[in-house]
């Protein structure tokens, strides 16, 4: 049968109707952190390229990386990478069809949120 109503079908309810929940917020943050990490990744690669090029170019890239803005991006990237890693572990657990009930999903959600800040603090202390 030809689909005569293409593009004009009702959508299932999503962002416009649902109240924000821990599960939906932690999920969208995995996507945001994962994609935003490209900024930190490009900066790190540029810094490595500058070190491979010349001392003068390294001074420029290192200056940008150690400026307040560079440090802010690196701090944000550290948090983002730990959040995305913990969120990814949660997905690897869910892939086995375990932990999908709401109480466990909430516990895992808070573990991801709190864990990301704990790991960020530990990283800042160590480095």
């Amino acid at each position: 049968m030809a689909d005569v109503n293409r593009g004009n079908r009702p959508l299932s309810p999503h962002l416009t109707i649902y109240r924000p929940q821990l599960t939906s917020m932690t999920s969208i943050l995995v996507r945001i952190t994962g994609n935003a990490l490209i900024v930190g990744a490009l900066l790190c690669i540029w810094w490595l390229l500058s070190a491979a090029t010349s001392p003068a170019y390294f001074a420029l890239a290192n200056g940008v990386m150690t400026s307040w803005l560079g440090k802010l991006i690196m701090l944000g990237s550290i948090w983002a990478i730990w959040y995305h890693t913990l969120g990814g572990i949660r997905h690897l657990i869910w892939d086995n069809a375990v932990g999908l009930d709401i109480p466990t999903a909430y516990k895992l959600g808070w573990t991801v949120v709190i864990g990301s800040f704990v790991l960020t603090a530990l990283t800042v202390i160590v480095l």
């Binding site: 810094w47 490595l48 550290i78």
Partner: protein, 123 residues
Amino acid sequence: MRYLTDRKRAVGMGSAKSGTAHFWAMKVSSVALLFLVPLFVFTFGSVLGESYETVTAYYARPFPALVAALTIVVGLEHFQSGAQVLIEDYVHGLAQKITIILVKCLAYGAMATGLFAIAKLAL
């Protein structure tokens, strides 16, 4: 009208196409990154902000160089796969195709640049 069974009419019409291969590739790279990311954060982080001599000497060593090279390759492969899903959700039509191509160019360009830098530092 041709005679088709319901199954014949449905096969290949789903939205996922090769979606399982894509999904599996994301899972495999995510498990690899589980090991690579902590190694990269603490090796790269230990020399970030150090002098030019310290950095070039550090990346002339095999372990930090290999960790950086692997993280760059697997990380950006994981990124281009994940960013494709993001684009497919929010951009549609021709703009979707163009955006996906541009993001893949960016990811593979960054991957090549990173590998070039590591190779030059290490050798």
